[in-house]
C-alpha cells in the first residue's frame, strides 16, 4: 500500500492497526502480525540515535534483562533466546548495556556510524576481578 501522509487522509477515515483480522494478539508474535501503515511498528525512530548498541552473541547468557528493561521493544527474544536488536525502533538510550550482567558485556554502545563487523572483531576480553 502506498504511504499516505498525515494531511492526505479523508476526514472521518477509520485507521486500523492491522490489515486483516487477528483473533489472538497475545499469542501472535510480531513477525506473524500484518501491521498496517497506521501502527507505529511500521514507523521508525532510527534517526533519533547518536549511539547504537551492538550485540555480541559469544558472551550472552540469555538472562533477558535487556528484553524486560528495553523501553522500545527493540530487543528481539524468541524461544527464550536473545537473537538481536530491532534497529528501526531502538532510540539508543543504552539501558540494555547498563543492565547486561555478563563479563565482558554482551551489548556495548558505539557511535551510529561504527561498523558492526569490525567492532565485533575487537570486542573487549574478559576483565579479571580486582582484589
Amino acid at each position: 500500500m502506498a504511504k499516505t501522509g498525515w494531511d492526505e487522509f479523508e476526514i472521518g477515515a477509520m485507521l486500523r492497526t492491522f490489515d486483516g483480522k487477528i483473533d489472538d494478539i497475545a499469542g501472535t508474535l510480531q513477525e506473524d502480525r500484518a501491521y498496517s501503515q497506521n501502527s507505529s511498528f511500521s514507523a521508525s525512530v532510527a534517526d533519533w540515535r547518536i549511539e547504537k548498541p551492538i550485540f555480541s552473541k559469544d558472551f550472552c547468557i540469555d538472562c533477558q534483562f535487556c528484553w524486560i528493561y528495553c523501553p522500545d521493544i527493540s530487543i528481539i527474544s524468541r524461544d527464550k533466546k536473545m537473537i538481536g536488536i530491532d534497529m528501526d525502533h531502538c532510540k539508543g538510550c543504552g539501558i540494555c548495556v547498563e543492565v547486561c550482567p555478563t563479563n565482558p558485556k554482551s551489548l556495548l554502545m558505539f557511535p551510529e556510524q561504527a561498523d558492526e563487523e569490525s567492532e565485533l572483531a575487537k570486542w573487549p576480553a574478559k576483565e579479571s576481578k580486582e582484589k
Partner: protein
Amino acid sequence: MSEMKKIKNLKDFSTSADRFEGANLLCPGCAHSIIVREVLNATNDDLVLSASTGCLEVCTAVYPYTSWDASWIHIGFENGSTAVAGAEAMYNALKTKGRLKQPDRNPKFVSFAGDGASYDIGFQWISGCMERGHNMMHVVLDNEVYANTGGQRSSSTPIGSSTTTAPAGRISYGEKKNKKDMVSIMASHGIPYAAQVAPNKWKDMVKKIQHGMAVEGPVFINAVSPCTTEWKFDPKDTMHITDLATDSLVFPLYEIIDGHELNITYRPKNVIPVEEYMAAQGRFKHLFKDEYKYLIKEWQDRVDEKWAQLNRREEARV
C-alpha cells in the same frame, strides 16, 4: 474465569508477544513504556485500555499512528479511569443480557494515567471509580511532575525538587510541599487491592498485576517512573535510578489488601542513604549547597519514619 498466565522466570516472560509497539515518541530511556510492557505482558487476556492526557497518551497516539495493539481510548485529562469504568459497566450489562458475541473471552480493564492526571486533575474521577467498585485497574505512572507540559509541579512532587513552577534559586529551594500518599488514600476506599510497584522489580510487579487482575473490584497501582528529562539524569541510568529509589526506601514496595492488610513485598538487603538517590538526579542538585543540607537530613528522617510506619502497619494488620 480465564487462566492466569504462568510466569516462573524472566525466560518464560520473554516469550510474551508484546502488545505495545516501538517507534512511539517517548524519550529514549523513558520508564513509562517499561511499566506499560510489564503490565500488558502479565496477562494473555484481551485488554480494554485507556490513557489520560500525559506523556504516555501524546507519545503513543500520534496521528496517524498508534502504538497500541489493544482497544484503547483517550478522552480528557481527568476521565481515563471513568472511560474504562464505563466500558466495564457496559460489558457487564451486555453479559447479563446475553448479548455478547464472545462471552467466553474475559477482557481486563486497565486505565493508565500519569501522576498529574491521578493525584491532581483526575482525583475525583478515580475516587468515584474506586467507590463504585468497578472491576478495573488504575495504573499510575508516577514521575512526580507534569513532564508532558514542561515540568510543572504536581501534588506528587517531593520537597526540594526543582520544577519549572517551583524553581530552585536564590530565595527558594524548589517545591515546598511534601508528596501526597496516594496509595493510602486509595486503600482507604476499602478497595480489594492497592499496591506500589517499581519496574526494576519485575517479578514483584507482575505478581501484583496478576493478583490485581484476578480479584473482583477496583485495583489501584502506583508505579514509580523515573523521568530522564525532568529528573535530569542520563537516559541509560533509568534502571539505576529506579534501583536507588527502591533500595533507599524512597519508594517502598508494598501492597494493601482490603484496605487494611498491609504487606511489605520488598526489603532491601542493604538500605542505602537517601542522599545517594538525590545525588544521582539533577533536580536535587541545589540541595547539596551548604545552606540546604538540612533538607537532606529531613528527607532521611521522613523516609525512615515512613518505613517504620509501614512496618508497624504490617505487624498490626490495621
